[in-house]
């Protein structure tokens, strides 16, 4: 039952999820939502890795996903810590307010 889903289904699904994530990063101005959308994009890529690893019979893709998960966990922790700090400073979570480095 499980092996009968073609690879292209998974690739297309992860393309859709990636596009939704990218669209979310672009249209939402709330930093928390933007971080969530980045996570969603990363997960879409993970799905591609695992689908390929399954269909090419290689565990390398799964090792990659394992590393990506660790990096994603660090990224979220540091990102949210920075966000809390920024919120203290500017009293806002709108990404348009954090433009002091624009020059």
């Amino acid at each position: 039952m499980i092996g009968q889903v073609p690879l292209s289904y998974y690739l297309l699904l992860s393309a859709i999820l990636f596009a939704i994530g990218a669209g979310g990063v672009l249209i939402r101005r709330n930093v928390i939502i933007v971080l969530m959308c980045v996570e969603m994009m990363m997960n879409a890529v993970n799905l591609t890795f695992i689908a390929f690893s399954r269909y090419l019979d290689s565990t390398t893709g799964q090792i990659f996903v394992f590393m990506i998960m660790a990096v994603a966990a660090v990224e979220v922790a540091v990102g949210l810590a920075l966000l809390v700090e920024l919120n203290r400073h500017k009293d806002s979570v709108n990404i348009n307010d954090f433009n002091s480095l624009k020059g």
Binding site: V5, L7, Y55, L80
Partner: protein
């Protein structure tokens, strides 16, 4: 066929929950939709014989990351949503169109790909041991030992960094920063007590987030420089604060009437410095 139907149902839930993350005004609801999205992806991992990563997905993403998001939302206040009209404007519609273009490009790439045809034949055979935790572990601890250790280093650095950020923020919270204009003063900063930081503006000649201005010994020209810089500040948060800010001027510092008028115009309150206190 039951496999495909099951896939399509879970895929539909996945896409709907992904859309729910974006098109939701309440940040808490967005985080819960994200949880659902991560859950469906774990289901796909199980379907693809990646049991270890399926469990890791639930533990790391659903267990740690979503909880972290919810924690931050609680910390900052849940009413952070934007109103619909701020994000459904013409610029964002253009960006949605760009997202659709991205989707089309990726989708075409998938369908044009030669792997599409070839992979369908390999779908039937399931290697007995494939994706089991032992296989992954064997690969992780032999071929990929160095990347594995580097990830461990990265995690440690991340922990230290986050702790440092949190401490730093606590130290800064009660601090008052005073911009001091004093040509007799050579140091860059002075810290008479832990909550107070005096910065020598004449040495720094730049804007920073000060809470008060003290003019001890400065020429008209130097004061004008400060006022010009403050007037041209583009930072909206700081701009809103200058009108409430207090500016203390030492009576011994002979400033012209024009300069004092300029200071009155820029800052909320201009007073004479009564005691030199910490400077003495």
């Amino acid at each position: 066929m039951p496999g495909q139907i099951f896939f399509l149902i879970v895929a539909a839930i996945s896409v709907i929950s992904a859309l729910g993350v974006i098109f939701n005004r309440n940040v808490v609801h967005s985080a819960l939709f994200l949880l659902l999205n991560f859950g469906t992806l774990a289901v796909f991992y199980f379907m693809l014989n990646a049991q270890f990563l399926g469990v890791a997905q639930i533990l790391v993403y659903a267990g740690a990351i979503v909880v972290l998001f919810l924690f931050v939302v609680m910390l900052l206040g849940a009413d952070l949503g934007e109103s619909v009209d701020t994000w459904l404007n013409s610029r964002n519609l253009l960006l949605i169109a760009l997202g659709l273009v991205l989707l089309t490009v990726v989708g075409t790439a998938v369908f044009e790909n030669t792997i599409f045809g070839a992979a369908d034949e390999t779908t039937m055979e399931v290697v007995e041991e494939f994706g089991q935790t032992q296989v992954i572990a064997a690969s992780l601890f032999t071929d990929y030992l160095l990347p594995f250790q580097l990830v461990a280093v990265l995690l440690s650095v991340g922990v230290v960094g986050v702790v440092w950020l949190a401490q730093h923020q606590q130290r800064q919270r009660f601090r008052r920063i005073i911009a001091v204009l004093d040509s007799t003063w050579a140091e860059e900063t002075q810290r008479p007590n832990p909550d107070l930081l005096r910065v020598n503006w004449l040495r720094r000649k730049a804007l920073f987030d000060f809470d008060q201005v003290e003019i001890i010994q400065a020429t008209d020209h130097q004061v004008e420089e400060l006022v010009t810089m403050v007037e041209n500040d583009t930072d909206s948060w700081r701009r809103s604060r200058y009108r409430q800010m207090r500016c203390l001027v030492d009576p011994d510092c002979k400033l012209s009437e024009d300069t004092v008028r300029m200071l009155r115009h820029t800052f909320g309150e201009v007073k004479n410095l009564v005691h030199k206190g910490v400077m003495a």
